[in-house]
């Protein structure tokens, strides 16, 4: 075998391996998608059915029996709202830390991260009682505030790393021209770190969309997100696989499609953060 042939063979093997791994990883999602179009009987058939007459009955039932739109809207408001609020607080802070670091900057950042290690369950009762006191139980406002706080440390950390990559000379040049700090942030730093901002926000939205602990603990009906809608469907017997799959697809599809569509942005942003 010549070297050329060896190279071709090696490439074929690597490509096959890549696809096998990909299909294995994706298969559970694909299977859930298929199951959501089966009848309950087909869903638990042994051997499992790969070919069947698809039905959308599960989806119609879920829309009749639950308030999908309300829960989806709550998920959108709380994950986007929490992210926006956290970014608003984090951008100026991370900017100041990156461009005028003090003796304590590193310690402050690590301390911030350590607050993220505070186990949510350890402060569940206090947060519950405080929310109750302010009449915020089962409201989207409570979730937006908590979501922004639980993501703030990670957002700070990532933004700090992005901002640090911006060459200081660019800022110095603009300062010579007398740019104000506000303009410096909005006109220079933010556009330069745009990819980083977008990918940070995206990561935050994904994490909040899927946040389970606070959503389940603090909402009951009005402010319930899709996570709590799915949780209410989890029958311990597992007898309703088809309906469960349908509600799961409805809960996961929006953020998954959002993730797919913004993947380029996400990758661009992350690349920017990694390039010096």
């Amino acid at each position: 075998m010549t070297d050329k042939q060896k190279e071709v063979l090696k490439n074929r093997i690597a490509t096959t391996a890549a696809w096998v791994v990909t299909i294995l990883f994706f298969f559970p999602i694909f299977w859930m998608f298929l199951t959501s179009f089966k009848t309950e009987g087909q869903a638990i058939a042994v051997p499992p059915l790969l070919f069947f007459d698809p039905t959308i009955e599960n989806y119609t039932l879920i829309n009749e029996r639950t308030d999908y739109v309300k829960h989806a809207w709550n998920s959108v408001i709380t994950s986007v709202g929490g992210t926006a609020l956290a970014m608003l607080i984090a951008i100026p802070s991370a900017y100041a830390m990156a461009f005028s670091p003090g003796r304590w900057t590193k310690d402050i950042l690590l301390w911030m991260l350590s607050t993220k290690m505070l186990p949510a369950v350890g402060v569940l009762m206090p947060i519950y009682l405080i929310s109750q006191y302010f009449g915020l139980l089962d409201t989207r406002i409570a979730l937006v505030i908590i979501y922004s706080l639980i993501n703030l440390p990670i957002i700070m950390m990532i933004l700090f790393n992005y901002f640090r990559e911006i060459p200081k000379e660019i800022l110095e040049a603009s300062r010579m021209d007398g740019t104000s700090t506000m303009n410096e942030i909005t006109q220079i730093v933010m556009p330069l770190a745009w990819g980083g901002l977008a990918s940070t926000a995206l990561l935050s939205i994904v994490l909040l969309w899927n946040e389970a602990f606070w959503s389940i603990a603090l909402t009951s009906g009005d402010a319930g997100t899709l996570v709590s809608l799915v949780a209410s469907f989890s029958s311990p017997e597992g007898l309703f696989w088809a309906k469960l799959s349908a509600v799961s697809m409805l809960a996961c599809a929006p953020i998954m499609i959002f993730g797919w569509l913004t993947q380029k942005q996400l990758v661009q942003g992350l690349t920017f953060g990694a390039v010096k």
């Binding site: 499992p48 802070s93 461009f99 799961s248």
Partner: protein
């Protein structure tokens, strides 16, 4: 920028996080010294260390601590190792790479509750689950995943969701690797492993620490996956500290001892965080 302005800009995030940390934390510490049972509000008052003693001597306590550490350690090892391997595998161009990438990162977007229910029912069910069907096809006896290997099953479920996160970060970082340097190394006769150890791995040092850091934070408080699949059982075999405290608070209605447990969890998290910061902190900032 003048230092005063810099301080003002940093103030909101620092103050908010301070409040977020101190207020509930001090309430938790306060509750932990009180007799505070939701079902018996008439019984209340200061009881000193009793809640701690009660929690510490609970036979479920040490297994829960151990399970927490095993869970975090295993998931980290699996996701970083698999994430690296897969990221390198898909770094070179191949037909359909764009689609493969989208498919590979998809599990990261799945909700923990959905993830757990999907694996529990459709994958790991000992009769109708796909894994059982596959093992019967090969003539093996299906494994009763959640009954016989509860902690391992949860490790698998969590790893399935988080490996894509590692892939995404590593894959992106690999794209910024110096191609000319790699080509030069190839021309000099460096093999795959030589290039991996001397060029790729050092290049990935920071992304690896970021992946470890972020995942550590999430896996210390794994909750939904346990609640939905095994509820910590059988026995205490898959109970982690978060879940133990949750049981104490919401099944036992004992705010006092749950708070004492919360303080234990916070101490454990801080010990882990300390070693973590020592180990990976140097790669991270300033």
């Amino acid at each position: 920028m003048n230092p005063t302005l810099a301080r003002w800009l940093q103030a909101p995030s620092i103050i908010l996080l301070l409040i977020w940390m101190i207020v509930p934390l001090s309430m938790t510490v306060y509750f932990s010294t009180q007799r505070y049972l939701l079902q018996k509000p008439q019984l209340s008052g200061f009881i000193g260390w009793s809640n701690y003693e009660f929690f510490y001597t609970d036979p479920r306590f040490w297994p829960a601590v151990l399970n927490t550490l095993i869970l975090v350690g295993s998931v980290l090892a699996i996701t970083v190792f698999l994430g690296l391997a897969i990221a390198i595998l898909i770094d070179r161009p191949f037909p359909g790479r764009g689609i493969a990438r989208v498919m590979l990162i998809s599990p990261f977007f799945i909700m923990p509750t959905v993830n757990a229910l999907l694996w529990k029912n459709m994958m790991m069910d000992p009769i109708q689950g796909l894994l059982a069907v596959v093992s019967r096809f090969f003539g093996a006896t299906p494994i009763e995943w959640l009954a016989d290997l509860p902690l391992f099953s949860i490790i698998l479920i969590v790893s399935w969701q988080w490996t894509p996160f590692a892939i995404l970060i590593f894959m992106t970082s690999l794209q910024s690797q110096d191609r000319e340097q790699m080509e030069a190394a190839t021309l000099d006769g460096a093999g795959f492993w030589a290039k991996f150890w001397n060029l790729t791995l050092p290049h990935l040092a920071r992304p690896i620490s970021i992946v470890i850091m972020i995942q550590m934070i999430f896996h210390l408080s794994v909750f939904a996956e346990i609640l939905v699949t095994t509820s910590g059982g059988p026995g205490t075999s898959s109970t982690n500290l978060t879940f133990l405290i949750y049981q104490e608070a919401l099944f036992g209605f004992d705010v006092g001892s749950a708070s004492a447990g919360g303080v234990f969890a916070i101490i454990l998290a801080n010990i882990v965080a300390y070693f973590l910061v020592k180990a990976v902190g140097k790669n991270l900032t300033v």
